[in-house]
Amino acid sequence: MSHQPTPLLEVRNLQKFFPIAKGWLKRVSGHVRAVDDVSFTINEGETLGLVGESGCGKTTASRCILRAIDPTAGEIIYRTRDGRTVDLAGLDRAGLAPLRAEIQMIFQDPFGSLNPRMTLFDNVGEPLLVHGMRNRAERTDRVADLLRVVGLRPEFMHRFPHAFSGGQRQRIGIARALATNPRLVVADEPVSALDVSVQAQVLNLLLELQASLKLTYLFVAHDLSVVRHISDRVAVMYVGQLVELAPTDALFRRPRHPYTAALMRAVPVADPRETSTDTILGGEVPSPAAPPSGCYFHPRCRFADARCRTEAPALREVSPGHFARCHFAEQMAAPSAG
């Protein structure tokens, strides 16, 4: 990372509530607080990992940034290629159109995210067409380049997706995301549908592309070891809130939120000699429609006391660059070695 990091994206107090409709009148009886006051910054050229369990709001947050869905409240400040800053949350369709090329997405399911009736040329080339590259010969050259960049042979261009394996399809999806020369790439679980040996290949490709094309990644995933491997900084979400945000090494060396620590303990280590004798996190993730009082994590937290039940902690800076949403973040001890 450079010494003077320039923020590319600043998410401020992002909220996304989904109404719950009841009865035949579809009266709104409550809200699912899918994303509830999330703030973070992604600097140019870095990878921010966004982790959490299913239903924590990580995908909803990333979809708000892409404006695939409209946020309920909050600002998404993006610095464009020509140096202007815009609030993506406030833009309309026409205002967003030119920026769509700069922010692209890599999807989780390599089988569902490619059109099976379109050849690779059409799948990868469509964003080029949408963004104004009308000349077919020009598009052919660009698609050939893109396939080469992601490690596929340009001759494959006229084949259909079904002829490719999961790992190869994920490469095709990456080529399509890169077609418009994006600056920010949102990758939602890009390797979780892949086999172990293929997963390593795709992670390596993402790292290579980031270095050569100066890409900025928002890497959304549930697998902590994958997130740890690829991220410069990691944000942890729980029931729609950001509970911890820190540089990768600091987070894994000394998590300051009990949920992060529990999440780390829960990962089965690929070494039979490293057996955890630590207690397993009990209970279940509460519903984001009816979160608990105070700290959302208190019913499952072994450190919780009376204050946690009533007073919601704020996300605060515990040490430089290390944020945690816990009353007792300072007292959280480093996990014992091994």
Partner: protein, 334 residues
């Protein structure tokens, strides 16, 4: 000790219009009573088909075309491969002696019957001496065993009313309902979150200790294998590449595939943002099986003129481990 389950040179093929897929191509392993055997492999390695063969549940066009599967019962040794898939022997065996925990508990339970009804049905099917009331009491007891709160109420719940973790616990309760000697767990935690996974794995470990049930644990997750299994079988393209005690597999792997697989996973301790060692190439298409050792096109240690021609046999390479690889002189062409 006599093994509880013994699989010898099992072959399962699928005859399709486009060609023949050899999904399982000469697999052999044993499960000892009370042992947790982990079977690890990537998609298409034949791990799930092997398990279906053990239960005689291979669907057409798949067919067991060779080999022998034997299961030890009180009354003697049963040859599963010769039993009729729909016959009385297999129907008595499934659920009672060998139970399955499937990957997707949502798909495994019927949504129009309560989970309790479905488990009671299984119990009554195998134990006709019980009354409905007794069976229900047994389900409540089982739900307590698998750590479900409010077991009396949960018996009357539908599967869609339960969370993923609870549903998987109910599935485990169902699998244990007839006190099986062998439990086959096919990716039982793949569909659930890490913290729930940790709970379910701990539960399986506890129950295994309590009842002494043997478990075959199938997964692609090397972390889960390391934490759960005492013995490991590594499969690739329908063949066993290596097998041995879990500590040897993880700390002294012999087969190049096992070694490469272990190197390619990002750990919780290594350096970050550096290229991971990869297994080059891709899994071959099932119609396009390479000749010789199935792993040779991707193997860094392949011996020219040998690995592409001959199929290595699974042979002992140490006192406890065996591997099918020509790097070890004992291996001779099968």
């Amino acid at each position: 000790m006599d093994p509880l389950l013994s699989v010898r040179d099992l072959h399962v093929t699928f005859k399709l219009d486009e060609g023949v897929v050899r999904a399982v191509d000469g697999v052999s392993f044993d499960v000892q009573p009370g042992q947790v055997l982990g079977i690890v492999g990537e998609s298409g390695c034949g791990k799930s088909v092997t398990m279906r063969a053990i239960l005689q549940l291979v669907d057409r066009p798949g067919q067991i075309t060779g080999g022998k599967i034997t299961f030890r019962q009180d009354s003697g040794v049963l040859d599963i491969t010769t039993a009729a898939p729909r016959g009385a022997t297999m129907r008595a065996l499934r659920g009672a002696d060998i139970a399955l925990i499937p990957q997707e508990p949502m798909a495994a339970f019927s949504p129009v019957h309560t989970v309790g009804e479905q488990i009671i049905e299984a119990i009554l099917l195998h134990d006709s001496g019980l009354s409905r009331k007794q069976a229900r009491a047994r389900v409540v007891e089982l739900f307590q065993d698998v750590g479900m709160s409010m077991p009396e109420q949960r018996v009357d719940a539908y599967s869609w009313q339960l969370s993923g973790g609870l549903r998987q616990r109910a599935m485990i309760a169902m699998a244990l309902s007839c006190r099986p000697r062998l439990l086959i767990a096919d990716e039982p935690t793949t569909a659930i979150d890490v913290t729930t996974q940790a709970q379910v794995l701990a539960l399986l470990k506890d129950l295994q200790r309590k009842y002494g049930t043997a478990i075959i644990f199938i997964t692609h997750d090397l972390g889960v294998i390391a934490q759960m299994a005492s013995h490991v079988v590594v499969m690739y393209l329908g063949r066993v590449m290596e097998q041995g005690p879990v500590d040897d597999i993880f700390h002294a792997p012999k087969h190049p595939y096992t070694r490469a697989l272990l190197r390619s996973i990002p750990g919780m301790h290594g350096t970050t943002r550096t290229p991971l060692p990869v297994i080059s190439g891709t899994l071959p298409h099932p119609f396009n099986r390479p000749p010789g050792c199935p792993f040779h096109p991707r193997c860094a240690d392949a011996i020219a003129g040998k690995c592409a021609r001959d199929v290595p046999e699974l042979l002992p390479v140490t006192a406890r481990q065996s591997a099918s690889c020509f790097l070890y002189p004992a291996a001779s062409p099968a």
